[in-house]
Amino acid sequence: MHGNTGKILNVNLIAGEIRVATLPEEYYRAYIGGSGLAAKVFWELGDLNADPLSPEAMLIFMNGPFAGLKLSGASRNSVAGRSPLTGCWGDSSCGGYFAPELRYAGYDGIVITGKANAPSMLVIEDDEVRVVSAAEYWGKGIEEVTRRIKQRYGKSYRTLAIGPAGENLVKYALILNEGHHAFGRAGFGAVMGSKNLKAIVVKAKNRDMSIAEPKKYEALRKELNSKIKDALASQVMHENGTAANLEGGVYTGDVPIRNFTSNFWAEMGEALTGGTLTERFLTKQGACAFCAIACKRVVKVEEGPFAVSEGPGPEYETIVALGSLVGSMDLAAACKAGRLCDDLGLDTISAGGTIAWAMEAFDRGDISLEDTGGVEMRWGDMETVINTVLPSIARKEGKLGALLADGSVAAAKRIGKRSIEYTAHSKGLEAPMHDPRGGGHGLALTYAVSPRGACHVATPMLFMEMGACYYPEIGFEYELEPMTDKNKPEAAVTAVELGSIENSACLCQFADREISIPEWVDLFNVVAGYGWDMNEMMRSGRRVFYIKRLMNHVYGLKAADDNLTSRMMEPARDGEPKGIEINFTGMKEKFYSLIDIDPERGIPTRRILEEYGMSEEAKRVW
């Protein structure tokens, strides 16, 4: 096998049993790797009915075939399983440095079941794999844990760790690599916590990889790295990070404000945009493994109530989720709140979404001081967010922690008073920081049909509507108008296929935008030796989308669950998209028809499953 190693680590924490397993080679061709291969493994081997926080739940980390290559944006990793936040299929992707080290150590992935009887850590040193005590790290923040693990084992050991939020089973707890690269979404930090697994550490002696066609690969690698590095978008993100165009987004109505109640706030745009972060707080750029873009930020806030020492800075999602979404335009506060979420182990998107919902509920009088344990939830009050709210959530302390630790949907169900109407989510996953009313109506569709819930990285639709994609080889030549439904169902089919490919190959969306479709195919062929053409690659993408849909069927989801909340669908009240309706039902019906999904059950038709070589899967659902 090339690219991939063909080997998976199976770890049962109850029995303390560690086995090296191999997966059928056809799984790799059919499901690529990353979240796609994880879905296939979960479907075949997981206990689909297990509570996600029970010992029986399966937690999977999976590389793509390119992990470890010296290629920009190609060394991400996926974590996957049943999400404790949504109760349905979940996956989350992370850059950083874990994926290449795992590949060099000889593994494509780690499949974890069971629950250790005491706080534990998985240590992987090539074929020496063991579970050791993590008692000394339990209760500690991720920053300290990461630092101490590296002191103990060495700087070059790569780490995954959870914080107090994961230990306390907060349903949107994250997992961090190297203390700041995040598997942010869907709550897999809580799954690790439920297994008493505080950290995973990996170190490989060698850096060898098997490449199908080494000479062709080397030529392609140089060409792609150069394309990615020289691209205008890469240069802009290198200079000003992923928030480089935040201000532009404010003017198109893409940036959510005060729990999606507004789509325009000019002063906030200038205050929070990436250029301002660069001017005020940036000390240097950071990067994931082998990436020439280096969009990560290292920041220092010298003084004031939100002073933070030099360290990882916020990306776009964090700046907005802990900025405009909660009514703040204080960039220093976003830096500090983001750093705190990292240390506590909280997903900034769901944390921001849940806090924004609570602020609106407080503002409306739907929750009171009695509900919050005396904490006033006021728009833009970042001192309270940082000093009280986030720590309470992570430690599940007091009434406030108990109310907000399961996410906005659970909190709204608990409170009632129609407060569910102003949650912003799909399938229980709080919406990311691109408002589809301004960002593009196709985004509303892809948020809704995404298997894991509202997600901006499940597909490249945001970029497609922006105009940043042009794939004539596969028929994507549309000039999309963001605030209409024209050609959106057709674009969404391409988007879910491409998104499934990139999330399975574990490619970074910022880097792979610069690679043409024929080059994607070449990369699979020269590295993994798949011998694909474009059609076969796109079919694999579609197949990945289908299997995740089947998983959600097992969890009881139907077509009606492919939806957004009324808050996200009501016409915008101000800004560029003011008053514009989204033709959601029309887009969704056409999308189902184009992609052969049953409009009631929400799963692929039996015929299409068979056409995609998924007859066995079809038998389980039809």
Partner: protein
């Protein structure tokens, strides 16, 4: 060229556009924040079809042709696409993706101006009227 009879026309229009835009307080301030020497290169439509804007040092200077110093940013496109762009009828991201606009140098400054394109389009329409070129106004 679809919109221009020769290479002098677009430059006349765009120089006047920048002269008018500089008189607008918001755009003037926005341009100064860009703080770059920019060459708008339309030479694919004629060797003299270009102009430059120098926003460095708190002043805005506009002149025909290639700048004497090395520009911080070069934007190369056709004079027709420039007309579409200033009329806010060309999605700049899409145009860059499809290589209709080629950019060399740091575009960070331009991002600051992107939100103001709508306002620029209004001034451009007035500019075309001033020049007696109502027929070139894009609807």
């Amino acid at each position: 060229m679809e919109y221009w009879k020769d290479e002098t026309e677009p430059i006349k229009a765009f120089l006047k556009l920048f002269e008018n835009a500089s008189k607008d307080e918001e755009l003037n301030s926005g341009l100064k924040k860009v703080n770059q020497l920019i060459w708008f290169d339309y030479t694919e439509d004629g060797p003299n079809c270009s102009f430059n804007v120098d926003c460095r040092g708190g002043e805005i200077k506009v002149a025909a042709g290639k700048p004497e110093g090395k520009p911080d940013l070069v934007m190369s496109l056709s004079a027709d696409d420039a007309h579409r762009s200033w009329s806010n009828k060309l999605n700049p991201v899409m145009a860059i993706t499809r290589k209709k606009i080629r950019v060399k140098g740091s575009a960070t400054g331009l991002l600051k101006l992107a939100p103001k394109l709508k306002k620029v389009a209004v001034i451009y329409e007035k500019t075309l009227k001033e020049l007696g070129w109502e027929d070139k106004i894009m609807k």
